[in-house]
């Protein structure tokens, strides 16, 4: 989460000061929202005239709109992904320049307009592409057509919105009557239009919650609404993916109501999915790539370039994407009779690894349990060795109630008292357990950090030095895949997450506190 936060923060830092102080960015690396209302920033807000405020609004709109356009075309032709990425980067570049110059002079307006022009041209290209491909794609023509129409309408909508906002900036009356509330409402509405999927997936609450919490800093809210709205949604998906793989069986989407994508085995098992178009370095996350891009020049440092491209920007009706496992015969394969699609790419990855790959990760503690997903191993290792609830049949349980349930069920089974019972009272060991958990979690993280570093450690370190990469990521890149991520999420997520898993996240979060502190200090040291 702090990654995103930082992104937001960076946005603000960048635009408010319209400068490019690196130190500023680093300072905002602290994984807490409180940074947003740090006095430094506030002062800047006060300094900058109210005008600035509106610029901000507009700026965010642009943020949303632009990526949405490019992003929406992604699903259609995954093969040209990288190409589009290039385009996008270029746009972002321009966009940044736009932003810099946005100071109510006609030139800015001109820029805006030229940008719009470019967008329209892009759309034209897209339509051309579609026309060109129509002949080739024979399967499911109707569906594809509908899809394409949706995409085009989505892009058109975004262009219109952009146009209106540009026009709005010309009206002096509008910009000089800034009341704190309307922008939010406006944005909220826009959000509704632009990111219907966010609302659709039930996470529309999140931005609202953020409103309430960040009432002190209006502008922050706006950004948060836009940026975090959909992103948080993503995070949740990432967290729950383990459950989701099983849980989505209950999801009864009628066949055809969603688009089925199927990644190939190589794609699934590739360690990186995002590659730098300049140096070719691979990243697991787009956000990290964007951070990395900053090293390639100032044009990548603009808020627009750094902001997360919005994936869900297509207009309603939402096109639901579902994934198919490439393994033929698998229930998750689209050819299967009772095909049950996977929800996200992460689901695909984990499913494929768990089901169709060797279990290459062996628990270093018990040397028996094997896993194919490293996150599973981590989860296991957290509890491994603590299966102290032992039955006479030899079965161990990590929870006492599970043991007692087992004993209640089977005749002749009885609780086995550990031989070293005298060492300490078994009853009052709860406190000890927690203590163990903390220390263990710490050590595990360390292990992973070192393991993962063997591959791309050097680069990572470089990243950190440039204050580009997430310090915690450097510490243990794998953290992102699992519960640790939840730990960092805690502040923003915990209050409104009522799912069962939130509890465990909280736990892991609390386990991570010391480490987090370490990460912070490391980042500040690097300054």
């Amino acid at each position: 989460m702090d990654l995103k936060e930082r992104l937001c923060a960076d946005n603000w830092a960048k635009s408010s000061s319209s400068g490019n102080e690196l130190s500023e960015k680093v300072s905002s690396d602290l994984p807490s929202f409180s940074n947003f209302i740090s006095p430094q920033h506030q002062q800047k807000w006060e300094d900058s005239p109210i005008l600035d405020y509106d610029i901000r609004c507009k700026h965010t709109f642009q943020d949303f709109n632009q990526p949405s356009q490019t992003q929406s075309s992604l699903p259609c032709n995954p093969n040209t992904q990288s190409k589009i990425r290039c385009q996008q980067d270029g746009q972002v570049n321009e966009m940044c320049q736009n932003n810099k110059l946005q100071d109510w002079d006609p030139r800015a307006m001109l820029n805006n307009l030229s940008f719009l022009e470019q967008k329209i041209r892009q759309l034209q290209d897209l339509v051309h592409l579609i026309v060109g491909r129509r002949g080739q794609v024979l399967g499911r023509p109707d569906e594809l057509l509908a899809q394409q129409q949706q995409l085009i309408t989505a892009d058109l909508t975004s262009i219109i919105v952009q146009l209106i906002s540009t026009a709005g900036s010309l009206l002096p009356l509008v910009k000089h009557t800034p009341s704190p509330c309307p922008p939010i409402g406006q944005l909220g509405q826009l959000g509704g239009v632009l990111f219907p999927s966010v609302v659709g997936l039930g996470s529309g609450v999140h931005p609202q919650m953020d409103f309430g919490r960040k009432a002190s800093d209006q502008s922050n809210q706006i950004d948060l609404t836009g940026n975090s709205g959909s992103e948080q949604n993503c995070t949740i998906e990432e967290h729950e993916l383990k459950d989701e793989e099983d849980a989505d069986e209950g999801e009864n989407l009628p066949p055809g109501s969603y688009e089925i994508l199927q990644l190939e085995k190589d794609e699934i098992l590739a360690p990186h999915t995002h590659f730098c178009t300049i140096c070719g370095k691979g990243f697991k996350r787009d956000a990290n790539l964007r951070m990395h891009m900053r090293g390639h020049g100032d044009e990548y440092k603009t808020p627009a370039a750094l902001a997360k491209p919005n994936k869900e920007s297509s207009s309603e009706p939402i096109l639901i994407k579902r994934y198919s496992c490439p393994f033929s015969g698998c229930k998750r394969n689209k050819e299967h009779k009772k095909f049950q699609p996977l929800k996200t790419i992460l689901c695909v990855k984990n499913h494929y690894k768990r089901t169709h790959c060797d279990k290459s990760y062996i628990c270093s503690r018990c040397n028996t349990k094997k896993f194919s997903v490293i996150a599973d191993l981590k989860t296991h290792e957290k509890h491994c060795g603590k299966d102290k609830w032992l039955c006479s049949c030899g079965t161990t349980f990590s929870r006492k109630d599970k043991l007692f349930g087992h004993i209640a069920l089977f005749q002749g089974h009885t609780p086995a008292i550990p031989l070293d019972e005298a060492k300490g009272p078994a009853g009052s060991s709860d406190g000890l357990e927690n203590y163990d958990a903390t220390s263990k979690a710490g050590s595990i993280n360390f292990n992973f950090g070192s393991n993962a570093l063997s591959g791309s450690g050097v680069q990572n370190i470089v990243d950190v030095k440039g204050s580009i990469d997430d310090p915690t990521g450097y510490f243990s890149p794998l953290n992102f895949d699992t519960f640790n991520f939840g730990g960092f999420n805690e502040f923003s997520r915990a209050p409104f997450d009522d799912s069962e898993t939130s509890f465990s996240f909280l736990l892991s979060g609390s386990c991570n506190y010391p480490k987090k502190g370490g990460a912070e200090s490391s980042s500040t040291n690097l300054e």
Partner: protein, 668 residues
């Protein structure tokens, strides 16, 4: 016994006892229970008597575990072994027991013993296959391993684990799986045991009749399975704070077989929880709700379904008048009501309650300070079958009212009038209760010898008399009691400052006397004590604290004659080293209070403590702590003796009247 001896010598080789079958002699021996020494005498008559007696005895209660092997070999038919007098029972003792008794042993009591571990228990459980009863209460060092060892006793039916605080769910789980025949299980104060352990017990031990879960940190989670037990009759949930109304509301059904339910000190349970718990328990006989939620109309209404209810205890509850009336109306016919220390008991409520329950046998209105003669009039007129009436500290009841008790309640066996206004007239009336066995007249300042003489004349079955601080009593009263009540077992004449040796001499005629408390009787001397020692062979507990004239002479005779003495309080008397050393020869002496003995030297004390092998508790001046060698104290503690160090200065006694005034001042 002497007769038997002569018979034996006359018949010489022709022993007529050879004609008696063993069964007949056993039947005779069965009736020889009065004095434990009788059987000893019998066995000493001849070899055949010795063998017969050895084969007859089934219960052993040894004072020390040292000679267990010899004892158990001598008594091969021992089925019940009570080791509660042995403070130190080691694993080797238990191994000896298990090797000697084998499968003969059915019951063992280790409730006051320490120093054994799971190994000893394991050998006991493995060898003594027929063990059905084990008392492990107060085994505070016992852990799950010990519980797991006990679980090997597959035939166990009754098990007490009170205050085994280190036993957890795991240990209890082992017992639940191992001892499937359990009928009684007491887990009182086993603070390590929670829902899981108790739940498993309820699932596995289907034969359970009685379950004590007092003060366990349990919730309704295990209650669900407990209430499914088909035979459960007695359930104690005292002080289970984890159970509340909300959790009880979830229970779908109560327990049909339940006869006794104790929910004392469950402040979180009101009438709502009670009704859901007892919804199916129509056969409930006894309900104990002491120190619980206020007794109101609603609570009383929830008793409506309990048609078999005979006894209800509401001690320490806040009670409303309406609640009392409603209990009177809804319950069929109660035999026992306890309202001790209930605030809110008024004449109106109590009267309407007792008039509805004419068959009442036991009534406890201790410290119901608001009731007056109105209540007493109603109680005595409607409950004429009353066998027990406790009305300590009912200070508003006038002296005339006590006459009514004697006039109307002739079947009283137990009467507690401590701190009441009763006078001689009342006592005279009460003496009509011929069955009276226990009479408590402590702090009754209005009574004199005259009244007590009536009691002595008529209440020949009196076994227990308490005259604590009843200052009007002198020797003549006591002597009337001593003559009229030959079965007297316990008497308390503490702070009856006018009592002299002649009282003790007359009391020495009461051969069954086992407890004598004459604390703070300044006129009592060693002479009186000697008479008691010679006469009352059963004496087990003696308190002569603050009797300044009690000295070594008394101790010497006591040591010689009172071989059953267990507890003695000699504080502030004139006993010295000599007396204490003499006392040490009493083999079963377990507890000594020897504060502030002027003539006591560290050397004498050390010798006495060493000589007294069975001591479990010694209370003495803190100054001795530094004067006694540390090694000695450690040795004694290893033997199972607990020291209580006190640093108290002697306070001069107030006379009883001003003492009571001071007490009342403190209350206000």
């Amino acid at each position: 016994m002497k007769k038997q001896k002569t018979i034996e010598t006359i018949t010489n080789n022709n022993n007529i006892f050879d004609l008696l079958s063993e069964e007949i002699i056993f039947t005779i021996l069965d009736n020889l229970n009065q004095n434990p020494l009788d059987k000893k005498s019998f066995s000493l008559v001849c070899k055949s008597f010795y063998t017969t007696e050895s084969n007859h005895r089934k219960t052993l209660k040894p004072l020390r575990p040292d000679h267990l092997k010899t004892i158990l070999t001598r008594y091969p038919n021992t089925t019940h072994l009570d080791l509660s007098l042995c403070p130190r029972v080691t694993d080797s003792s238990l191994t000896t027991i298990s090797n000697t008794c084998n499968s003969a042993l059915k019951s063992i009591n280790l409730s006051r013993s320490g120093f054994f571990s799971s190994n000893g228990l394991l050998s006991l459980a493995m060898k003594c296959k027929n063990l059905v009863e084990v008392d492990l209460s107060n085994a505070t060092e016992l852990r799950d391993a010990g519980a797991a060892a006990i679980a090997e006793a597959r035939n166990l039916e009754r098990l007490w684990l009170g205050r085994c605080k280190l036993v957890t769910d795991m240990g209890v789980g082992c017992i639940a799986v191992g001892c499937r025949k359990l009928r009684l299980l007491s887990l009182k104060w086993c603070l390590g045991v929670g829902d899981l352990g108790v739940g498993l017990v309820a699932i596995k031990c289907e034969e359970l009749r009685s379950l004590d879960l007092s003060y366990l940190p349990i919730t309704n989670k295990c209650l669900q399975s407990i209430l499914k037990l088909h035979h459960l009759e007695d359930l104690v949930l005292e002080g289970c704070y984890g159970i509340d109304d909300d959790s009880l509301a979830v229970l779908k059904h109560g327990c049909k077989s339940l006869k006794t339910l104790d929910m004392s000190s469950c402040q979180n349970i009101s009438h709502i929880g009670l009704s859901s718990l007892t919804s199916d328990s129509g056969g409930l006989h006894q309900l104990i709700l002491a120190y619980g939620s206020p007794v109101t109309l609603a609570l009383a209404d929830s008793l409506k379904n309990l048609s078999m209810l005979q006894s209800i205890k509401l001690d320490g509850c806040i009670i409303t008048c309406g609640g009392l009336k409603a209990i009177g109306n809804c319950c069929v016919s109660l035999k026992e009501i306890s309202l001790s220390k209930c605030s809110g008991v008024t004449d109106e409520g109590l009267s309407s309650l007792v008039t509805k329950h004419k068959d009442l046998r036991k009534l406890d209105v201790t410290c119901c300070r608001k009731i007056t003669d109105v209540s007493i009039a109603h109680i005595t007129s409607s409950c004429t079958n009353l066998s027990s009436l406790r009305m300590e500290s009912c200070t508003l009841v006038p002296r005339e009212a006590f006459v009514l008790i004697g006039q109307r309640c002739h079947f009283l066996e137990e009467l507690d009038l401590t701190d009441d206004e009763i006078d001689d007239e009342g006592l005279k009336s009460i003496s009509r209760c011929h069955k009276l066995a226990s009479l408590k007249l402590g702090i009754c300042l209005n009574i004199t010898d005259e009244g007590l003489a009536h009691v002595g004349r008529c209440c020949s079955k009196l076994t227990e008399l308490d005259l604590y601080r009843s200052a009007g009593i002198t020797d003549s009263g006591i002597s009337a009691i001593a003559h009229g009540c030959p079965d007297l077992e316990m008497i308390n004449i503490s702070y009856c400052t006018n009592v002299t040796d002649s009282s003790l001499i007359s009391l020495s005629k009461c051969l069954s006397l086992n407890t004598l408390e004459s604390r703070g009787c300044p006129l009592v001397t060693s002479l009186g004590l000697t008479a008691i020692a010679v006469g009352c062979k059963q004496l087990m507990k003696l308190d002569v604290k603050k009797c300044h004239y009690i000295d070594d002479a008394g101790m010497l005779t006591l040591a010689h004659f009172s071989q059953n003495l267990r507890q003695i309080n000699l504080s502030y008397s004139s006993v010295t080293d000599v007396g204490l050393l003499a006392l040490a020869s009493i083999s079963c002496l377990q507890s000594m209070n020897i504060l502030d003995l002027k003539g006591l030297t560290p050397g004498g004390l050390a010798a006495a403590l060493l000589a007294c092998g069975e001591l479990t508790k010694v209370k003495l001046q803190v100054t001795f702590k530094s004067l006694l060698p540390q090694a000695l104290l450690e040795h004694l503690e290893a033997r199972g003796c607990v020291f209580q160090w006190r640093d108290q200065v002697y306070r001069a006694e107030l006379d009883p009247k001003s003492w009571k005034l001071q007490l009342e001042d403190m209350v206000q």
